[in-house]
Amino acid sequence: MINNTQVGKQSVTFGTPTYIIEESSIAGKKEGEGPLGGYFDEVEEDEMCGGNTWEEAESRLQSRAISRLLKKAKLEPTDIRYLLGGDLLGQLIATSFGIETFEIPLFGLYGACSTMGESMSLGSMLIAGGYADKVIAITSSHFASAEKQFRFPLGYGNQRPLAASWTVTGSGAVVLSKEKSDKKKGANVCVTGVTTGRIVDYGIKDSMNMGACMAPAAADLIYNHLKDFNRRTDFYDKIITGDLGYVGQEILIDILQEKGYNIEENHMDCGIEIFDTDNQDTHAGGSGCGCSAITLTSFILHKMRKEEWKKVLFVPTGALLSTVSFNEGNTVPSIAHGVVLEVM
């Protein structure tokens, strides 16, 4: 077995793989009505989740994702060494309020919609480095809290551009562990490598076209990942991006084709999978931290546990948009994080 190693420019491999021993997903009503509806652990019909504010609703999603995760894994909060989590809201309020009762040591992360990739990357590194036996990686997003922070009040009447995406309401979490799970629930899925993204900015200022903002970041990440590991695209059963949507997917495939990699056959985008755009009126697709998180913790891991997919490159993508920098005339810098998932 190889030891933990730095690979190429921006990747690492782990001497011993980190096991994803359990996952949980909670989705909103609209997501529950979408094509992946049957895969979620729980679908919350109440958009307020029993809370009083949108922010509280999102916190409750995180809290319930963790409760369910611990219950499914038959673990206590004290079994978890670290929690790595984040969301889209200012000062990570959904995470801070959502996880406080669990009293697990926390690293709060902001990677916009790429946060699930960031938290799983760092979680695997903590375990591989021997600093933890079990960690939880979690993110969430909520349509209404994101609209309120980044766009307009919900009741305001305006026309969404066709390139705009629809923020997913939901929270997904995984337990990463040094040891494999002893209970049988399909194949063991591991994180075997990580490629960390850098900020990529091709000068797009249109915050309503985030797919175009993020596609170059995703392309940069996938390109450097394949170079670092010296792999071909067919090494993977699926290369799965977070929330590029239809516009971003087209650009991503185009860029990589130009750079000599054809991913048209095995590319999938969580933002495209999660909604039925014709019937659910979601335009370019789903977005938000929750988009890649709940697709991973339901559909993707389901496929892997059944060994339909054995090697997946999971690449959540984030548009690091701020309403302040946007109003100041700045572009939307983007990032992507790559996590290698393998059935072992």
Binding site: P153, G155, G157, Q159, L162, D201, G203, I204, A212, V247
Partner: protein
């Protein structure tokens, strides 16, 4: 016809400013947009209907004996009320999705932007929520509306003096 920017042109460009410009051109080509003709037609008839409704109220109020100016003022009150009620029931956004500028330009659009902000920020309190944020969308309209009427008044005054 302007030639389409290809992704290869973007990636080959070493100068960052020129690359960003080329990428923006490329993105413009691959990004779908609403059909402007359909949008125009929808804006025309939805906006037109709102105006017809306004005219109906004015005529109705005048038939009840109000003078034209008072009837107009009552008409504004009723349209604003209707818009606020539709906003509260989450129906105005549905109308706006269809009507676009046809729902934004009339006074109902203004009322919607104020009511939507009030509803959204109520949770942050009467002062810092509703008080500070009720005009987040309508604020610029109020400020620049008053400012431009001041400028017009000034011009009118100068012409009168000269």
């Amino acid at each position: 016809m302007k030639q389409k920017t290809k992704i290869s042109d973007v990636l080959k460009e070493n100068d960052q400013t020129r690359r960003n410009k080329k990428y923006n051109d490329y993105v413009k080509d691959v990004t779908p947009t609403h059909n402007i003709l359909i949008n125009l037609v929808n804006a025309y008839w939805v906006g037109g209907l709102i105006c017809v409704l306004g005219q109906f109220f004015i005529n109705w109020f005048m038939s009840m004996g109000l003078d034209k100016e008072t009837a107009g003022a009552y008409n504004v009150l009723v349209l604003v009320l209707l818009s606020v009620i539709l906003t509260g029931f989450q129906l105005y956004p549905k109308l706006a999705k269809l009507g676009g500028a046809g729902t934004v330009v009339p006074i109902t659009g203004f009322a919607n932007s104020v009511a939507a902000s009030a509803i959204e920020f109520k949770k942050e309190g009467q002062v810092f929520g509703i008080g500070c944020k009720i005009f987040t969308i309508a604020g610029p309209v109020i400020l620049y509306g008053i400012f431009s009427s001041w400028v017009l008044g000034l011009i009118y005054w100068i012409i009168k003096v000269v």
